[in-house]
Amino acid sequence: MPVPYTKLVIEHFKHPHNVGEIKNADVKVTEGSPACGDMLTLYLKVDPETHIIKDIKFQSFGCASNIATGSILTDIVKGKKIEEAAKITWKDAVEALGGLPTVKIHCSVLAADALHSAVEIYMEKTGLVKEKKPTTKEIVMSKLSHVVDPLTGIDIVRSGLIKTIHIKDGVLTVILDLPKDHQFAKNIEEEILERLEHLWDVTGVKVIFEG
């Protein structure tokens, strides 16, 4: 095959493992955006007693490398304890695939980022996080920097879409500089909820559109 990929990459690309959705997943998280090129959604189901990843599935709007990395990375972490999964990096995935062309490395980074976000959310949800820090504006901003505006491909923090953030009595209010009828308003709201709702000291999240 004259394509610049290893046999294993091609194999995982042609017949990817762990593809699809998990209904009632413990965590669902989306990394990237169609606008910036690649996008990957990850679902986790974790045993509440042992914290072992029982099931993991992914969906990809991405290229061959993105699909292949999603496939092998989910293979690697399936059956592992959540703390062990947190230590898996994009380098492990690339190594397991027998390498990727240099320009394609970023595709594997995206998949690993999605994994780390998912693990973080699970640990926060279940109280596995060692020190429970109170949720501050800075923490909220850093979480929201993973939410991408589908129109521009730039995250909503950097693109200045966030007008203000209020935290009062456990209720988080995010005010966006975006009209309510914006074509991606619903997607952005969903992703914001995905990133914030589970935080230990957050009792509710409100997204308000003021564009």
Binding site: K14, P34, D38, M39, Q59, F61, C63, S65, V103
Partner: protein, 388 residues
């Protein structure tokens, strides 16, 4: 089944073209510029001159010396743009082109900008065509050259070069058109339409690689951009690629209108077949004023490199405008200039046909594209609502 649908990149040479070239490798290998020294050279010069006459006639030119042979379309574009810009500095240092030109045109203009020229890059509509009013407004007293492609190599959209040529004439500005992908699929008539410079690329029409043609209307002020000997009327130095010149002539001679009609039918069959079997497909570009052999489609919710790689496993060769495919990880600047977003460029595929394609191949492509798209959409987090 093997189906080559990347003919906008390059075509298979016609066997008759190869046959016409062979004597110029093995017997008539002298250089045409040695005409005054020996008969070997004279014989080759006669053949090259015949090729010049042939192209001048086909393009609607009047004189054989209006045809300059170069190393390819890229060099022809470089010579046309830089050569005219340098030679007409007394008229002014303003130039006009579009945002959707081939890289050899765009980067020639960018180089001139670095050297102090001012360049206007015309925007295009969502279908990829320029607006004549905008062009008119861009024209200044100092404008020395307008360069607009005939047809687009990625979307097949055809510009109204007759109107542009007319306007250029009225304003006294030289007009160049890059017809590398368009001619001879579409006709051209240099004198009657008022075109001063035309770029051709024979390997796009079953001719050899390594040869380009620049038509330069007699009297056009132009400077050579490569330094060397006095070949090609002192406009393009270097030993003439005589086998390729002869091959180019042959390819133009045997190019057939019937083939073009058949290719157009195949393209329509492909588009209709895909549109009826696959949901959520967008056509990129103009449907009516389009090159007969190029179709550019966006398959929503999935990525183009994944599509083209899967199709390659099935023996089908196409390319994509996705950022994942390009070396610089940038989505097609042509689709972006047409107002498409990254997501639309991401799932775009260019199908480009030739006279060698058959109905069976097209039907096979429709079937396999359907399978590949449906397979990849199963992996995609997008567009699920439409399926349920």
């Amino acid at each position: 089944m093997k189906v080559y649908l990347d003919n906008a990149a390059s075509t298979k040479m016609d066997k008759r073209v190869v046959d016409a070239m062979i004597p110029f490798f093995l017997e008539k290998y002298a250089v045409p510029s040695s005409q005054f020294a020996h008969t070997y050279g004279l014989e080759v010069k006669d053949a090259v001159d015949e090729a010049r006459v042939s192209f001048a006639e086909r393009l609607g030119g009047k004189y054989p010396e209006e045809i300059i042979f170069t190393s390819g379309g890229t060099e022809a574009n470089n010579l046309a743009i830089k050569g005219v810009a340098y030679a007409n500095i007394n008229k002014g240092k303003h130039l006009i082109t579009t945002q959707v030109e081939h890289n050899s045109v765009l980067n020639s203009f960018r180089r001139l900008e670095e050297e102090g020229f001012e360049v206007s890059y015309l925007p295009v509509s969502k279908d990829g065509i320029i607006n004549m009013d905008v062009l008119t407004r861009c024209i200044k007293k100092e404008t020395a050259l307008i360069s607009v492609q005939y047809g687009n190599h990625e979307t097949g959209t055809v510009q109204d070069i007759r109107e542009i040529a007319k306007l250029s004439k009225e304003k006294g500005i030289l007009f160049h058109t890059d017809a590398a992908i368009a001619w001879p699929y579409l006709p051209i008539d240099a004198y009657n339409w008022g075109i001063d410079l035309i770029t051709l690329s024979p390997h796009k029409f079953y001719g050899p690689k390594g040869i380009g043609i620049l038509f330069i209307k007699k009297g056009t002020r132009i400077k050579k951009v490569l330094d060397g000997g006095f070949n090609e009327f002192n406009l393009r130095p270097g030993t003439e690629n005589t086998p390729a010149i002869i091959g180019a002539k042959k390819a133009a001679e045997i190019f057939s209108r019937e083939d073009v009609d058949r290719i157009l039918l195949l393209k329509k069959r492909l588009i209709t077949g895909i549109k009826t079997t696959i949901k959520d497909v967008e056509y990129n570009g103009l449907k009516e004023h389009s090159l007969p052999h190029i179709a550019n489609l966006t398959f929503k919710y999935i990525e183009g490199e994944a599509i083209s790689l899967r199709l390659d496993f099935e023996g089908i060769a196409v390319i994509t405008g996705s950022a994942c495919y390009s070396k610089n990880l940038q989505a097609s600047y042509i689709l972006l200039a047409m107002g498409k977003n990254h997501e639309q460029a991401h799932g775009s595929i260019r199908f480009s046909l030739s006279k060698y394609n058959t109905e069976e191949e097209i039907d096979y492509t429709i079937q396999k594209t359907g399978e590949v798209v449906s397979d990849l959409r199963k992996l995609s987090p997008l567009g699920r609502e439409d399926e349920e």
